[in-house]
């Protein structure tokens, strides 16, 4: 059998850029970089912000435990974003559905557990300014982990940027909610759904849009260079 000829333009392009490359580190190492960022943000927030006044009266499982629970699930979701950014490691629609559901449910579990543990009523909404502050906090606390994840994703080769972006935003939002749980004293379901879950889902949508823009840019490039 004759050996297939490599087309000359392809051969030339490959030969001109054949420097050795180091394979991406394994997933756990890349996820560790995100985890270190989340821990650094958490430590910085705990040092610079006043903790919720009722934290001492809450059971440790509901106070610190719930924050850790959300943080770990958020990290898991960001690790899935890193996994999805490597070709041939695509997640199925079912897994994506479970992940989004898990993020929302864990958010609700935390607020319900807190509500059951808190003495007295926290009001229906909490003050509007408090709500806006919570959303702002969530976005601020999520930003470093989101940026690190996006950097690691860009260094890989995401084939479905919308899904990668969505997972990165959702995971970063959930870890930020875990940190914010230690600050926000309002445990009404409406407050959490609107200002906390809302911010988390907002980050998820932002990540999806970022991926969509990325895809459009890629298609435009093909339009300009294509046959």
């Amino acid at each position: 059998m004759t050996r297939p000829e490599i087309p000359e333009p392809l051969r030339r392009t490959i030969a001109s850029d054949l420097r050795p490359v180091r394979p991406l580190p394994p997933l756990w190492k890349r996820a560790m970089a995100v985890a270190v960022t989340v821990v650094a943000v958490a430590v910085a927030v705990l040092i610079t912000h006043a903790l919720r006044p009722d934290l001492v009266t809450l059971s440790p499982w509901v106070g610190w435990g719930a924050a850790l629970f959300e943080g770990l699930i958020g990290l898991l979701i960001m690790a899935l974003a890193l996994r999805e950014s490597v070709p041939g490691r695509a997640l199925s629609g079912g897994v994506l559905g479970i992940v989004i559901g898990l993020a929302i449910v864990s958010n609700l579990i935390v607020v319900i557990a807190t509500r059951l543990d808190v003495a007295g009523s926290a009001g229906m909404w909490g003050p509007l300014t408090r709500g806006m502050m919570c959303s702002r906090n969530e976005l601020m606390f999520a930003l470093p982990a989101l940026l690190v994840t996006i950097y690691l994703v860009i260094r890989a080769f995401p084939l479905r940027p919308q899904i990668v972006g969505m997972l990165a935003g959702l995971g970063a939002g959930l870890t930020a909610d875990g940190i914010n749980h230690l600050l926000c004293p309002v445990s009404s379901l409406m407050h959490v759904l609107v200002w906390h879950t809302g911010a988390m889902l907002g980050l998820m949508i932002f990540g999806w849009c970022f991926g969509q823009v990325w895809t459009i840019v890629q298609i435009r490039r093909i339009d300009h260079s294509g046959p």
Binding site: L10, P20, G88, A90, A156, F157, I219, I222, D223, P227
Partner: protein
């Protein structure tokens, strides 16, 4: 991790050599992959010139993404995913420009061994190409190019169970169509 076949093991060695900057490993990789990737690309486009262009695009993307291959993982799912992406981006670009992709005469493409016994080869080819693309993709990746259902699923972004169901339904459709057309189904 499951044991790799000799063929898969060879691809891992070639890919590792290519990552280390060895041009002859790239040449061997091209030789080993040209035919299966061409076959896979026929599930997306139907003209030889575009398939040839897309093959070059896929290899260029593979070159850009070569650092994302993590040895000793199987090479095939990684490569087919990149090839699939090149084909899908091409199709989207065509749709955006509202161009109808050209369709060549039916190529003499290989068919899955499971479908070969169903009747005249040309007829099976015709029926196979009439299947919806998702069904064709699973048949080609699993039954012809030798990926496991789990690997096929990771290329396409579906569950292994869904890949199995798609392949089963596709073969059933081929059988039914062949029976209608007077094959041996």
């Amino acid at each position: 991790m499951t044991e790799l076949s000799a063929d898969q093991q060879r691809l891992v060695e070639l890919m590792t050599g290519y990552q280390n900057g060895n041009m002859s490993d790239f040449n061997d990789l091209y030789e080993a992959l040209k035919a299966p990737l061409t076959r896979y690309l026929w599930t997306f486009v139907r003209d030889a010139a575009t398939v040839e262009d897309l093959l070059q695009t896929a290899f260029l993307q593979l070159h850009k993404a070569r650092h994302t291959y993590i040895p000793p993982r199987p090479v095939k799912p990684w490569i087919y995913a990149i090839t699939r992406h090149a084909a899908l981006m091409h199709l989207r670009s065509h749709r955006r420009r509202q161009e109808a992709p050209p369709a060549d005469a039916l190529p003499d493409i290989p068919i899955p061994p499971e479908a070969e016994k169903l009747g005249d080869r040309k007829m099976v080819q015709q029926v196979l190409l009439e299947l919806p693309r998702p069904a064709q993709e699973v048949l080609v990746l699993h039954h012809m190019l030798g990926l496991s259902f789990a690997e096929t699923a990771r290329v396409i972004g579906i569950s292994a169970g869904a890949a199995k169901v798609r392949a089963h339904r596709a073969l059933k459709t081929i059988r039914a169509r062949m029976a209608k057309l007077g094959g041996r189904a």
